[in-house]
């Protein structure tokens, strides 16, 4: 627990980015959770000393580079997720996975809300309700993602 698992952190971030970009057929694309946000959330909660707002911002910027209609949009939203996770990491860490998933759901909804608001302000509105689906699937997949990341943590640390 003492050393920060840098290798694991960056590997998981890159894997998450690739998972975000890989083309999926039809409905799976809409269901695809924001993997990179889940990864940022996990590491911010587990290792708040080495991963935080800055890491989240960089990851968000990566998302912007590939997918953002406006540069800086995802950066702000992911940094917010990281900030919340670091601030509340002790409370979140001690909770069982199911409650963690609930917290995550709230955070993801906030994340999507920030994106939705910036989309609207910047003149790239996307009003379909489908845009909120990834928040739900992200929370549902949380036990799985957390399990995989915990495994990588144990291996590297």
């Amino acid at each position: 627990m003492s050393s920060s698992p840098r290798g694991a952190i960056w590997t998981s971030a890159i894997v998450a980015l690739v998972l975000t970009l890989v083309p999926l057929p039809g409905w799976l694309t809409i269901l695809r959770p924001d993997f990179l946000v889940l990864v940022v959330f996990y590491w911010s909660v587990q290792t708040p000393r080495s991963v935080g707002v800055g890491f989240g911002w960089i990851c968000g910027m990566l998302l912007d580079a590939f997918q953002g209609p406006v540069l800086g949009e995802h950066a702000l939203a992911v940094a917010l997720v990281a900030y919340l996770a670091v601030r509340e990491h002790q409370r979140i860490r001690t909770k069982p996975l199911l409650q963690q998933a609930l917290v995550l759901l709230a955070v993801l909804v906030l994340y999507e809300f920030v994106l939705w608001a910036i989309d609207g302000w910047s003149g790239h509105p996307l009003t379909t309700p489908l845009r909120w689906v990834p928040a739900l699937t992200g929370a549902l997949l949380w036990p799985l993602v957390a399990g995989v990341l915990a495994q990588s943590y144990r291996l590297r640390a």
Partner: protein, 367 residues
């Protein structure tokens, strides 16, 4: 690398620190967003980003591309033969059709009272492969493997073998993002081929539907009508097929019809598209406008414009062809009521420099 946070103290003791850093990063994001909105300021950065992200996008796409390649490599002789036969037939059909093209062009020129036929508006085209990447979950965008190295420019027209696909948005050195016509942000000036009625086709976010929200309730539209580009807006030349009207909801209490059309282009299954360059002196060519300037048709295509220095003699027929074209498009006088906000404002601007040609100008000024 991972250490972006402060190293000092335990997480408990730096309660205010993450908040401070978040404020800092949030401000930075906002500054970047504002800069990005003022398009030109971050144009260089966007170009660079396209360059940097392209290798990643290609490598993410590599397994799929490899699979397609394998599929190709192991297709049976029979399949190939069948495909070959099919393509041969198609090519012969197209050739037979183009055999008559020159004759038709001459005939058309004669009908329009021109001295000679005008060459087609497309001067050069370049095939581009689609890099299959999820650019955005719900937005209608694709990445193509051509960029400024191939002469691709911003807002360039992209087509496929069936119709209009979209236009380039962010262009990098080796890649470009194409905004599809079905993206909610895309507005395409179109014309109903049967009547010449001009309107705007707006993307719905559904790859199979365009909406025509500005058609007045009394507009002459039928299911099955073909929409072609109108040449306004400065991106697409006139006359390219866009979509076929599939649905018309006429609600008596609403001033506008709700009309949907299905794009001709195979937006979902395309693996390759065409980038087009246009002959700027052709009457059908779109004109490149700067921001703030009123979008209009090709000045060369306006009636009796002050004779522009014509490199090819095709210019004289150009203005003539446009004159008749312009007259035709005015025919549906209906277009002047609520639609006026979108399609017609281009007209007065184009008329200004040419106070001659009285019949058209007077018609267009009818509110």
């Amino acid at each position: 690398m991972a250490g972006f946070g402060t190293r000092s103290g335990s997480p408990h003791s730096r309660g205010g620190s993450p908040g401070f850093r978040f404020t800092l990063y949030a401000l930075l994001s906002v500054v970047i967003m504002v800069l990005d909105q003022r398009m030109d300021l971050l144009e260089r950065a966007r170009f660079l980003l396209q360059a940097l992200t392209y290798p990643v996008e290609v490598s993410v796409n590599a397994p799929l591309a490899g699979w397609h390649w394998l599929e190709q490599a192991f297709t049976s002789r029979q399949t190939l033969e069948a495909e070959n036969r099919q393509l041969r037939t198609r090519m012969r059909d197209l050739e037979v059709r183009t055999l008559r093209f020159d004759a038709l062009a001459r005939e058309n020129a004669a009908l329009l009272g021109l001295k000679r036929a005008v060459p087609p508006v497309a001067e050069r085209w370049l095939p581009a492969d689609i890099v299959d990447i999820d650019l955005s979950r719900l937005r209608q965008r694709v990445l193509i493997d051509r960029g400024t190295q191939n002469g691709v420019y911003r807002n360039q027209a992209v087509l496929d073998d069936a119709g209009v696909v979209g236009q380039t948005m962010h262009v990098g050195p080796w890649s470009a993002v194409v905004l599809l016509i079905t993206d909610p942000e895309h507005d395409l000036p179109v014309q109903i081929a049967r009547t010449g009625f001009r309107t705007i086709a707006v993307g719905t976010g559904d790859p199979n539907a365009l909406a025509l929200p500005y058609l007045p309730a009394n507009a002459d539209v039928r299911v099955g009508d073909v929409l072609v580009t109108s040449g306004l807006g400065g991106v697409f030349p006139s006359g390219y097929p866009v979509a076929r009207i599939t649905q018309i909801h006429r609600a008596a209490i609403q001033p506008m019809n709700q009309v949907l059309a299905k794009p001709f282009a195979h937006l979902q299954t395309d693996r390759a598209v065409m980038l087009l360059w246009f002959r700027p002196d052709s009457p059908a060519a779109p004109v490149h406008t700067h921001e703030g300037q009123l979008r209009s048709g090709n000045p060369a295509a306006q009636p009796l414009s002050p004779p522009p220095p014509p490199p090819p003699p095709a210019c004289a027929p150009a203005s003539g062809a446009a004159a008749s074209g312009g007259a035709k498009t005015v025919v549906p006088g209906v277009s002047t009521q609520s639609r006026a906000a979108q399609a017609v404002p281009a007209a007065p601007a184009t008329v200004k420099p040419t106070p001659v040609a009285p019949p058209r100008t007077s018609l267009r000024h009818h509110p």
